[in-house]
């Protein structure tokens, strides 16, 4: 009891007095495997600092707060090549005195990094991978996820389509693994929210280039033909994370139908056009610093560094265990310009968040949609919920 009181008193003094105490340095690592991601639209080709820029902005924001608390934040980003061993990169983080790191790696590499960091007490923040399995059967107790899952994105879209009474879907799926995973999430969402997939079609990636000197002449006739035989539907839903065909669908389908999913109306955790709930302030700060628009990946990284900042502000940045306890406590609420507080799902360390629906120009809507109720948090109508989870954090290797 006395100890608690003393701790509380010390805390108050620390926060309220502008004293010249010693500055606490909080170094955050950032492991990423970049490489150009191919895209149909030039506008979708990511900037070289995609993600890292968001982290840097949050470092600035944390440091503005930190100057009142004698805390200083720094970021060290490392680019891994395909052949680099994530476990070795984790070793370097430890040598350089870091116990916190953002990771933007494919699922398999992320798990290698997480398991290598486990014994050494590292806490990771997944800012890239949207794979459900990282929050389900392959969840880790030392990986927090600020990126949403495919199922959260699919559910966010499905709720809107059902609200709009567009219940009959034509599902077109790409031939890559990620496309199939997104299609799985869309099928699950259709079932949960009462939509019907009237037909599924596969769009094979035959390996063609996305840009050619001959241009789009053939595509203009290919897409109507491809969609010609489909039964009547309200909306065409495309699963094309590999960006091979989806952007070719709008305005070219046989029947005049809206497109959603990987093109047209796209579910995302952030968009450069989102300006509600004070987001304009964050967008302005970002553009001022980086002279480009803020992407979803930038936002995942911003949220991760801000979560660390929040823990530090509350004097819980000391070690990862303490930090996780703080994220799990009622004191933690992340303000991230989504109109409500974001909290962490305690069963798999996934950040709860609304899903924006963007047409590429403006935000059309934000899910959860009205009427989709939940006994704990309406945000838990998005993605895999507690009763269905396969994640066992106690049993996980993390």
């Amino acid at each position: 009891m006395i100890r608690t009181l003393l701790a509380a008193a010390a805390f108050c003094v620390l926060v309220s007095e502008v004293a010249a105490a010693q500055t606490t340095e909080i170094k955050i690592g950032y492991l990423r495997q970049g490489g150009a991601r191919a895209a149909i639209s030039l506008l979708d080709i990511p900037a070289p600092d995609d993600g890292v820029a968001g982290a840097k902005l949050a470092i600035d924001d944390n440091n503005t707060t930190g100057k009142f608390l004698n805390q200083h934040f720094a970021l060290e980003a490392t680019d891994l090549k395909d052949e680099d061993d994530p476990a070795a990169a984790v070793g370097t983080l430890v040598e350089r005195g870091m116990s916190l790191a953002l990771v933007d790696l494919p699922a398999a590499a992320l798990l290698k990094a997480a398991d290598a960091g486990h014994a050494r007490g590292l806490l990771f923040f997944n800012v890239g991978a949207i794979d459900d399995r990282l929050r389900e059967e392959d969840c880790r107790a030392n990986v927090v996820h600020t990126a949403p899952t495919r199922s959260m994105l699919a559910d966010g879209l499905a709720q809107y389509l059902v609200w709009k009474q567009w219940r009959k879907w034509l599902l077109v799926v790409g031939s890559h693994d990620a496309d199939k995973l997104f299609a799985d999430a869309l099928r699950r969402a259709a079932k949960r929210f009462g939509a019907t997939i009237v037909q599924e079609k596969v769009f094979e990636d035959t390996g063609g280039a996305r840009r050619t000197d001959s241009g789009l002449t053939q595509i203009q006739s290919q897409i109507p033909l491809f969609t010609q035989s489909a039964p009547d539907h309200d909306v065409l839903v495309a699963a094309d994370e590999s960006q091979v065909f989806a952007e070719y669908l709008p305005y070219r389908t046989w029947l005049p139908r809206p497109v959603a999913g990987s093109a047209g109306l796209v579910p995302t955790s952030w968009d450069g056009a989102h300006d509600q709930w004070g987001a304009i302030q964050l967008q302005n700060r970002f553009v001022q610093l980086f002279h480009r628009r803020m992407t979803a990946r930038d936002m995942h990284a911003w949220m991760a560094v801000r979560m660390i900042g929040e823990a530090a502000t509350h004097q819980h940045a000391g070690d990862p265990k303490q930090m996780l306890d703080f994220f799990d406590s009622p004191d933690f609420a992340l303000a991230a310009f989504k109109g409500q507080k974001l909290t962490l799902r305690d069963w798999n360390l996934q950040l709860r968040q609304p899903i924006l629906l963007s047409d590429g120009r403006v935000i059309v809507s934000v899910s959860p949609q009205p009427g989709f109720l939940h006994q704990f948090s309406e945000l838990d109508t998005l993605g895999v919920d507690r009763p269905e989870t396969k994640c066992r954090l106690d049993a996980s290797k993390g």
Binding site: C12, V15, S16, E17, V18, D61, T64, T65, F68, L69, G278, Q281, N284, R285, R306, E310, T313, H314, A333, L334, A335, G339, Q340, K341, S377, E378, L379
Partner: protein
């Protein structure tokens, strides 16, 4: 002929004298780029003034001559002459002004610049900037202590109330509050500072001498999810006994016993309630309801909503002027 002129003169004098007693409410309409003027005797909008882009913070000057309105997207504060109800001048507020407050002398204006992490100090008479104080990320709430010595600023992403000594213009204390602090209000006797946290869903009651949060006011409304309770505006009665807290998308104003800090009652108002203002004598309280485009009128003694008035698009701030 002379008697007619004299008669007209008298009539005009009476005509001028009469509105001098009228109490007008000025409502900034964030999306409409207008200010609605409400006659509080008739409860009617009597004029709609065109202003700059994205009007939010709005307040009457101490001398009663101007209503100041921060037009954030135009990076300025416009001055509305309360006699003519027209925009007559501007103040160099710095970028993206949102909320501001006058010092007790009425000479200086302190402005929160959301994009710049600063509080700008303006000489109102000279219309010039006197300086700036660096604060936390996204400064918003502004308040001056009743003794005029301390300026309070809340910063939305830093989650602190900054105490700025007005003589030295230096920060003397920072008090951590819950997420996204948007508004600060002192009790009239200066004994407590209340700070609302929009995302955190609480109002922190701060001891302004010790610089510590001594209590948090929490809210619970049956049937409403906790995330929808987002406290913003705070108004405390002159006797310091009752506090009103606007709860945003919860569409309610909480009535708080300012001694015990317990919620006595929730008043159902329009959608997304932002800010409030008392009429003279605290007979009525007006609230701006952002999403339903209206203003609710609350009878303070009865604690009842008695009327709703349609205003412009997305009403945000409100201030009262006696004409």
């Amino acid at each position: 002929m002379w008697w007619r002129a004299a008669f007209l003169g008298t009539a005009m004098a009476i005509g001028l004298a009469h509105p001098a007693a009228a109490v007008m409410a000025y409502v900034s309409n964030e999306r409409g780029n207008t200010v609605s003027v409400i006659d509080t005797d008739k409860w009617q909008v009597v004029k709609t003034i065109k202003v700059g882009q994205r009007p939010r913070g709005i307040a009457l000057t101490k001398d009663g001559k101007y209503v100041l309105v921060a037009v954030g997207d135009d990076d300025t504060i416009q001055m509305i002459d309360t006699k003519t109800n027209e925009v007559v001048d501007t103040l160099p507020s710095g970028p993206d002004p949102e909320l501001f407050i006058e010092d007790p002398s009425g000479k200086l204006l302190y402005v929160a610049n959301e994009n710049d992490n600063t509080v700008t100090i303006i000489d109102i008479d000279k219309r010039t900037q006197l300086g700036a104080v660096q604060v936390g990320v996204e400064p918003e709430g502004m308040e001056v202590s009743p003794d005029g010595k301390i300026l309070i600023n809340t910063s939305e992403t830093t989650n602190m109330a900054h105490f700025i000594d007005l003589a030295s213009r230096k920060i003397v204390a920072n008090v951590l509050v819950d997420s996204r602090p948007r508004f600060a209000a002192f009790k009239p006797d200066g004994s407590e500072l209340w700070v609302s946290s929009e995302i955190g869903g609480t109002v922190s009651v701060i001891d302004p001498v010790q610089h510590v949060v001594k209590q948090k006011i929490t809210f619970a409304i049956p049937g409403l999810r906790a995330e929808a309770i987002q406290p913003v505006g705070i108004n405390i009665t002159h006797d310091g006994k009752t506090g009103f807290v606007a709860l945003g998308p919860a569409n309610r104003i909480a009535v708080v016993d300012a001694a015990t800090h317990d919620v006595i009652k929730y008043l159902l108002v329009g959608q997304r309630v932002w800010h409030m203002a008392f009429t003279p004598g605290e007979k009525y309280l007006l609230s701006t309801n952002g999403v339903s485009n209206d203003v609710s009128i609350i009878d303070v003694a009865a604690l009842k909503v008695i009327k709703t008035i349609q205003v412009g698009e997305l009403p945000w701030g409100v201030t009262i002027a006696r004409h």
